[in-house]
């Protein structure tokens, strides 16, 4: 990865362009670009501007409250935090094996989460860029524009997400922020009625997910050169895999490979993640920069998420998704496996895997069982790791003898991807913005790179539509040369 454009040598002489906030991502981010008088790019930084504080205010709370409280980190993928916290507290309770019903209900909940989040990410947030073009008319470049121009695609996106939310509601009690997973197991299984209701549409979801994989493949074929080159960089990667090396989004050991594909660690027990991962701090960002200890802070950054998972696993344990994985890996000599936009293709393969997993689990009688809780010998600490929609998610808690949390550490997907996202936006800035007159369409290229990863720092579910955006070009003397705003309806006003 490149650090070349991380820090300019004389920033005071440069003008600053800010994309604040970055729109159509799940969370709040900001990009600053420093340019000289000839529009040469000297510095690009992605800032995650929120401070959440969950690790601090969870201290002193009873441990059984944690899976419900920490999921409030996010309105889009709360299930991931809910399950990662539950898994950590399973370990703290000494529960080494959940009951079959509990494990399958949690896996079902997680597959529902992957399905709905990936559908939202691809159809609602990213597809406008891919369907209309990166620099297309921004008034149309949103989900409403997709509904108008491609109603069938939009409908599938909306209904796939809705189905995933229904899976979550029936396993967790609510579509958003349920309580289904508790330390040691779950508090409910499916009723026969719920199972039948979900089964009605399960095969349709598999079919639509296959269509979605076909759609992103087609987009790659049509725009091969641009998609392959867009924000491309070499990177190490990390994900969970099952004991046989297959993709497992719920549980497994950690696998990491460097940018050359050399294995750094494999099937590593995540209960001691700190032996292989450390976090670096930079003075300009509130977000830490994790790195592989064996490679050091300068060379040890890595990618997590769909692209890492699909490329690092040996197989996917559902047949249709595995076939798509093989085609993705072989496509154009493997070129898409290193492309930043390859994230979207990998994401759709995972969505297909999630749909197949839901269908398979719904045929398993254990999901209506009544044995929900397991017990074990209490430990002081617990670590839970899960593959959240955007990547590896680590929850780590220490609990005292009074059942109160005394320490918490969360490393979320976006933190793992911090350096990778910064590298991607720098590559895009170098490719598209360096030395040319900046337009909104060009700035959108930066956002497209971020949307490929998509920061997972949502504090709430976002309203459908355009996020407000303000871009200001500030001269070397600090005066605003040009500025424009985009309001929530997507209307642009020159405010200079």
């Amino acid at each position: 990865m490149t650090f070349e454009l991380e820090t300019a040598t004389s920033p005071e002489k440069l003008r600053r362009v800010a994309i604040d906030p970055v729109s159509r991502v799940e969370g709040h981010g900001k990009v600053t670009i420093l340019l000289d008088a000839d529009n040469k790019v000297h510095q690009v930084r992605l800032h995650i501007v929120e401070f959440r504080g969950f690790e601090k205010f969870i201290q002193g709370r009873p441990y059984w409250e944690v899976p419900v409280m920490v999921q409030r980190l996010c309105g889009i993928c709360p299930v991931s935090h809910h399950l990662a916290a539950s898994k950590a507290l399973d370990m703290m309770l000494g529960v080494k094996q959940l009951t079959p019903t509990a494990e399958k209900i949690r896996r079902l909940m997680h597959a529902g989460q992957i399905l709905q989040s990936h559908a939202l990410h691809f159809f609602h947030l990213a597809s406008p860029d891919l369907l209309f073009g990166f620099g297309s008319d921004m008034a149309k470049r949103n989900i409403v524009g997709v509904v108008a121009a491609h109603p069938e695609i939009a409908k599938k996106g909306v209904l796939l997400r809705k189905y995933g939310q229904e899976v979550i509601r029936m396993t967790a009690g609510k579509r958003v922020h349920g309580t289904g997973s508790v330390p040691g197991g779950v508090n409910k299984s499916l009723t026969a009625g719920e199972r039948a209701e979900l089964l009605k549409d399960a095969y349709q979801m598999v079919a639509w997910s296959r269509d979605a994989v076909g759609m992103i493949r087609q987009l790659f074929e049509q725009n091969l050169v641009e998609y392959n080159a867009f924000g491309r960089f070499r990177s190490a990667g990390m994900c969970l895999v099952s004991p046989d090396g297959a993709m497992d989004l719920y549980h497994g050991g950690l696998r990491a490979r460097d940018a050359d594909g050399k294995t750094l660690f494999d099937h590593f027990n995540y209960g001691r993640y700190w032996d292989v991962i450390a976090e670096d701090v930079k003075p300009w960002s509130y977000m830490k920069f994790p790195f592989f200890k064996s490679l050091g802070p300068d060379d040890g950054s890595y990618r997590v998420g769909p692209l890492s998972r699909v490329t690092l696993c040996d197989s996917i344990p559902t047949p249709l998704a595995d076939k798509e994985r093989e085609e993705f890996m072989a496509f154009d000599g493997g070129s898409a496996t290193g492309a930043t936009l390859g994230y979207h293709w990998a994401r759709m393969i995972e969505m297909l895997h999630a749909a197949e997993t839901i269908k398979d689990l719904l045929h398993d009688d254990d999901i209506t069982g009544g044995d929900l809780m397991a017990t074990g010998e209490r430990q002081e600490r617990g670590v839970g790791v899960i593959e959240a929609p955007r990547g590896t998610l680590i929850h780590h808690y220490r609990v005292d003898e009074n059942d109160q949390v005394i320490r918490a550490n969360l490393i979320v997907s976006t933190t793992h991807n911090n350096q990778a996202m910064n590298t991607a936006v720098r590559e895009v800035a170098r490719q598209y913005i360096d030395g040319v007159e900046i337009t909104e369409g060009l700035l959108n290229h930066i956002e497209i790179a971020i949307r490929a990863f998509d920061p997972c720092l949502s504090c709430a579910t976002h309203a459908l539509g355009q996020m407000p955006l303000e871009v200001a070009i500030v001269g070397a003397d600090g005066t605003v040369i040009d500025a424009a705003t985009r309001d929530h309806r997507g209307l642009i006003r020159d405010v200079s």
Binding site: P62, E65, D403
Partner: protein, 238 residues
């Protein structure tokens, strides 16, 4: 109108009562809901929450402490009274730290259920964010005073039923007044409080909690999920 002397009008309906009953007791016996928090049918009225305020012959009064009288006219669920109750509820919410989203009592909490019943949509007032302790010292019971509404039911139950006097109300002012633990250390672990005590099972909100049981009941099966609080008036503990 009922021809006996032992009836009064409640929201335009005749309501019978037994001499000595309060308006609240008579209403409950007849299956009529008057919003309340600190009143419990098994204990003498405390009269502190004021949520059960009604208008008796045009004047405000606490229905839990005011004796029913023949021929009186009582207003209960009027827009005016419910509006005042909503305001009082908002004060309850801002005076403590009531974070329903992560509270294990959510769905079983009388404060939350009453807020739903009275259609309280927001706390309205600025939050006080009082610094209240959590006492996790007891092996079986957690005390989270962030959610205390000072109803004093635990004080009464411990004294009157359990004969233990584990709790006492003390201090002055909104931020100073709180429940104290009757032990040398001030910790619950140093009392003889037990899970089987009546006081351990009486808290209408999320202060006195059985440890390691939180969120065991799924959404949909909790006390107020299926039946709103106003329809539970005939249940003995409501």
């Amino acid at each position: 109108m009922n021809d006996t002397n032992n009836s009064f009008q409640l929201d335009g309906e005749d309501l019978p009562f037994t001499p000595g009953q309060t308006i609240m007791q008579a209403a409950k016996a007849a299956g009529v809901y008057i919003p309340h928090l600190c009143w419990h049918p098994d204990f003498p009225a405390h009269g502190s929450c004021k949520l059960c305020t009604v208008k008796v012959n045009g004047r405000f009064g606490s229905s839990c402490t005011m004796e029913a009288q023949a021929g009186m006219t009582v207003e209960n669920r009027t827009a005016e009274l419910d509006d005042k109750r909503r305001t009082m509820l908002q004060m309850f919410f801002v005076e403590g730290n009531h974070f329903c989203p992560s509270c294990e009592k959510s769905g079983d909490c009388a404060l939350q259920a009453t807020a739903y019943e009275l259609k309280m949509m927001s706390p309205h007032f600025d939050m006080f964010y009082p610094d209240r302790p959590v006492d996790a010292s007891h092996p079986d019971i957690l005390l989270d005073f962030n959610r205390c509404i000072m109803c004093s039911l635990c004080v009464t139950a411990s004294r009157e039923v359990d004969g233990k006097n584990v709790f006492a109300m003390g201090g002055r002012g909104i931020l100073g007044r709180r429940i104290h633990i009757n032990s040398e250390s001030g910790r619950l672990a140093d009392t003889d409080f037990a899970l089987s005590d009546r006081a351990a099972n009486i808290c209408p909100v999320g202060v006195i909690l059985k440890k390691r049981k939180g969120f065991a009941v799924p959404i949909g099966d909790r006390r107020y999920d299926k039946t709103p609080i106003n329809e539970q008036v005939k249940e003995p503990t409501a």
